[in-house]
């Protein structure tokens, strides 16, 4: 943040009278012109970023993140190189590129699922606990600015973490085998995931009085969304397999397939995997059909699109409810 330098300058001593001379009439412009003016206009964003980037905390966290990722890539590389020589016909740079890329995206997805809520789940409840909540509410700061500011600042930091992993991801480009649409789609998935889980953290943080409760609920939500689906599938798949063996009526088959599709788009990792499989097997990033037993082709959309829509809708809903909770005066 470059705010520090500019505010140091004017140090001329003033008398007490000028101290509380009325400030120049303020004209709060409603529509921010660009990103920078939005960021500096919302005091919460500025304050959060200043606090987050202060000292060695952010530096240590980012360094640790890159080290872990580097170690992971090294592990992948060694494992692949060993197995390629032993099992496959030889070393394929393209396959390794896909492994590295897929591995990093998966880790980053988990990061977006579990780091973002860690930052946002204390957003509002932390202010309550620090007893600064009342101070903020007697200022002209709106509930919207507070909540959106916290969310924006958290997302910016997560974005920074994702950015720092970019050099490692570009190793995949060096090795080949990764298409531009894969990069775009994975970026979209990452941002959408961070948004959803950040918004969930904000929501629970404004709902709960204490950060502890907010954190527990947020992580329960994150676990349900990431692990809940695989567990559910384990319960559903045997059932559907049983039905498929006894050749179910086409209607039921269609319902099952679409239910399965809906379940996939509530889970970032399932979405990523399914999208990648579709890209490889069906060569499509958008639309495909699946034939069922009576020969009808069912239309499907590649899950990343509805997933991003799902994240956006649910995340925005949670943010709006969070704003309402903050806005409501104490009764």
């Amino acid at each position: 943040m470059g705010g520090d330098g500019g505010t140091e300058g004017g140090g001329s001593p003033m008398t007490a009278e000028t101290a509380i001379a009325p400030p120049a009439p303020t004209k709060p412009a409603r529509t921010p012109r660009n990103l920078r003016s939005y960021l500096t206009r919302n005091p919460v964003v500025l304050k959060e970023l200043r606090g987050r980037m202060r000292g060695s905390r952010a530096f240590v966290l980012l360094t640790f993140h890159i080290l872990v990722m580097s170690g992971f890539v090294l592990l992948l590389y060694t494992a692949y190189a060993a197995s390629a020589n032993a099992v496959y016909s030889g070393f394929s740079g393209q396959l390794l590129g896909k492994f590295v890329f897929g591995g990093i995206v998966t880790i980053e997805l988990l990061l977006a699922c579990f780091i973002t809520p860690a930052i946002t789940s204390s957003a509002v409840s932390g202010e309550r606990e620090r007893q600064t909540y009342d101070l903020l509410r007697t200022t002209l700061l709106s509930a919207r600015s507070l909540v959106l500011g916290k969310l924006t600042a958290a997302l910016l930091f997560v974005l920074l973490m994702l950015l720092t992993a970019l050099p490692l991801q570009s190793l995949a480009f060096l090795l080949g085998g990764v298409a531009p649409e894969e990069v775009l789609i994975s970026t979209g998935l990452l941002v959408a995931t961070a948004y959803l889980f950040g918004a969930a953290g904000i929501f629970f943080s404004s709902l709960m009085r204490r950060t502890l409760g907010a954190t527990v609920l947020t992580y329960a939500f994150a676990l349900l969304a990431t692990l809940g689906l695989p567990l559910l599938l384990m319960a559903v798949l045997p059932l559907s397999a049983f039905l498929f063996y006894s050749s179910p009526p086409p209607f039921l088959e269609a319902v099952l397939l679409y239910t399965f599709g809906l379940l996939v788009i509530t889970n970032p990792i399932a979405t990523a995997v399914t999208t990648e499989v579709l890209l490889i097997d069906r060569q499509t990033a958008f639309y495909f059909t699946q034939s069922i037993s009576n020969g009808i082709n069912l239309p499907f959309i590649s899950p990343w699109l509805p997933f991003i829509l799902f994240c956006f809708v649910l995340g925005t809903l949670m943010t709006l409810i969070g704003i309402q909770i903050v806005r409501r005066a104490e009764r």
Binding site: I20, P23, P43, D134, L135, R137, T138
Partner: protein, 322 residues
Amino acid sequence: MPAIIETKNLTKRYGKLIAVNDLSLNVEQGAIYGFVGPNGAGKTTTMRMITTLLQPTSGEARIAGYSVARDLRAVRRAIGYMPDFFGVYDDMQVWEYLDFFAACYEIPEATRTNLITDLLELVDLSHRRNDMVDSLSRGMKQRLCLARTLAHDPQVLILDEPASGLDPRARIEIRELLQELSRLGKTIFFSTHILADVAEICTQVGIVEAGRLVAEGSLEEMQRRIVPHRRLQVVLLSQAEQAQAALIGREGVIEVRVLENGASQKTQAAAQVLEVDFTGDDAAVSGLLKDLVGRGFPVLRFTESVHDLEDVFMHATKGIVS
């Protein structure tokens, strides 16, 4: 004088508990209003209602003419509120803290730098500008919080226990700061249970107990109203008993007591002190003295002891809460 804070039948109920009961008070523009009462009397609840933080169960409050229930933004622009806790961010520098709150009051970035310099100057923290808020002493934190409440140049300062938990020196500094701000035209509404502060600087006093405003007015008014009689001290060289007998039954005299050793040590051993509870104006007091002297009693000193605020406080509150 127009009232800048006005509450009418303000009431706050939590279930069966009535925290604030039918409270109507008026704070005049430019006043330093001491809001006095024992712990749990409803001071903080009242303040939270007039700062828009808490919705009243019934009744209304207006600040500078704006309704606390409807014109939230106008009220918030008019007030600077300091709660009874510090409320500081630990990961911020002093100037950043002020910058953040100034921004929350929509003060443009360009004017904030000078504003912060001036505010720090005012509360005497210029030398700590780049220190972490966490490293300040309690008194300094309190002054910083006071500077924060001034960021948007509010008309009214609402301060909850501004002097609590401070050492005597810091308390006096805060007190002087409040007087300074009053000279600059701010209306100051503050709660306290330190009566010395009230007696020292307040122009208006409201005493609250068990959620009710039991007395309100200037200090002198309250003294007259709550403890209606005057207390005269008459130091005589001798003949205290005779003087006592002479005074009892005189118009306006409620009670006459002979104090054994009163103020005698300092003067002559023979001096005796009479304490007279008396109602009447200054002319009547003068007449009483003339009468005593006329009858040949050896009056050494004749003074009126002023009731201090603690008398007033003890009279007004009946210890319902405490």
